[in-house]
Amino acid sequence: DTAVSQTPKYLVTQMGNDKSIKCEQNLGHDTMYWYKQDSKKFLKIMFSYNNKELIINETVPNRFSPKSPDKAHLNLHINSLELGDSAVYFCASSQGVGSEAFFGQGTRLTVV
């Protein structure tokens, strides 16, 4: 059983489109995250949710909107996709401050 699973694994889309990435964790964790890893492999946090409430919202364009329907799910919706949005997006979860984070396998988004 995969602990943190995200879909799709690959996403190729045209500029201007709207797309969503889904994430689910079966670890019973309270906190979920979205990270972006750019072409230089730098992993940067975008959002964090704790018990379905937004607790971290780094400086990302408001075209990115996270949604957490329940504690086990955190989806990422992106409007009006731009070329610069091309990256690998990772979902992660953890239990408590300072706990290890469990990452999904990533979604490689390519905007053409």
Binding site: I55, A92, G98
Partner: protein, 111 residues
């Protein structure tokens, strides 16, 4: 702004030797540091956590140190094997849910 720096982008080492990776932090006083391993096309996998009041942690062939005076963590892999080849990420946290990652060091263990 707070920075986590892994000075070596890449490190090549002979099989059987000890690999030492460095993580420095500036403008920051992390309460803990974590180390992750990332293989190509995969998400990071947690390896070790060390808190600011701990000097050293070990797990099998892995050892991590935390020096708050030097503002540095060292990550060691002893008796390195080709299977240890991967990118290793340092991450720091300070009492919140946010982890700040370094850019990683790509380790290649040569047979």
């Amino acid at each position: 702004s707070q920075k986590i720096e892994q000075n070596s982008e890449a490190l090549n080492i002979q099989e059987g030797k000890t690999a030492t990776l460095t993580c420095n932090y500036t403008n920051y006083s992390p309460a803990y540091l974590q180390w992750y391993r990332q293989d190509p096309g995969r998400g990071p996998v947690f390896l070790l956590l060390i808190r600011e009041n701990e000097k050293e942690k070990r797990k099998e062939r892995l050892k991590v140190t935390f020096d708050t005076t030097l503002k540095q963590s060292l990550f060691h892999i002893t008796a390195s094997q080709p299977a240890d080849s991967a990118t290793y990420l340092c991450a720091a946290g300070a009492g919140s849910y946010q982890l700040t990652f370094g850019k990683g060091t790509k380790l290649s263990v040569i047979p």
